[in-house]
Amino acid sequence: MAAVTKTWVALCALIVGCAAPELSVRQKDPTVRYSYTTEVVELALEKMQDVLATLEKKVDACGNERMKTVIPPQVLPALPLSDREWEMAMAHLSIKAMDDCVGRLRGDAVLAYTRFRDFEKQVTGGNAIDTGYYNLELLCCMSVFGSMEIELEYKKIDPKIRQTLESIPELRQPFNPIRTRDAMGR
């Protein structure tokens, strides 16, 4: 009789266990403490949106500073540079100052976007959630190719002259390189 009862209990446990929802099984399994899926995607989306909102504000502030700031010619030393070299130097240093002004936010945005898209794909099998105009290309790379072309031109300038330019505090804040060169008369 005892053996029959044991078998019946075991069968019941098996049937209930098999029929129970996945979450219930996992709750009984001490090695799996949680099973969020869509919640993680939603949290990743929320984090991405927060970073993007902060990034937009920072880019706006730094960009406005860049547009309006003209460096007075007297701040810039007389250096043996051609007009073209001055142009490349001002262009590169302005781009670098803008990047420094925005700081790590751009990297944070790329990371948050990539995580969100990865988690979304893990959970839903695809990337269908609308993120407006934000995409990886915009956040990471779009116009950077041209900026690097300018940097390569800048690197042709004598390292000592570059060092002198890079030590000027005004050139480390966002500034308008076109209007600055206009002010220099070059």
Binding site: L55, V59, A91, Y133, L138, M142, S143, G146, I150
Partner: protein, 106 residues
């Protein structure tokens, strides 16, 4: 703000490529079209119904087109605005001369 009229403007292959890149910026076209309607700069940067391919066309850009663009650019998101500015900035520095340089320098 200095907004010059530019007449008889044609784009070099490099300028055409930059315009292609600007047109690829997702969300920009819709924003500019809503804010600027059929402005010549929308035809250049967005293209309307296939019209406005930059190659081989001689463009005339009036002072009011620049004013419209600057007003519209305030309304698009800072990240989109930055991308357009950077493409224009890079093009300006590629040693184009004359009218194309003036165009990208605006």
């Amino acid at each position: 703000m200095n907004c010059p009229e530019i007449t008889d403007l044609t784009f070099s292959p490099s300028g055409e490529k930059a315009i292609g890149n600007i047109r690829r910026i997702q969300g920009l076209g819709k924003g500019l079209t809503v804010l600027m309607g059929g402005s010549v700069l929308v035809k250049i940067f967005v293209g309307i119904n296939g019209v406005g391919h930059p190659v081989g066309i001689v463009w005339k850009i009036g002072k009011s087109d620049w004013v419209l663009l600057s007003q519209a650019m305030v309304s698009v998101g800072p990240l989109l605005r930055e991308q357009v500015q950077m493409y224009a900035f890079d093009e300006y520095h590629k040693q184009h001369t004359g009218k194309e340089r003036e165009f990208w320098g605006r």
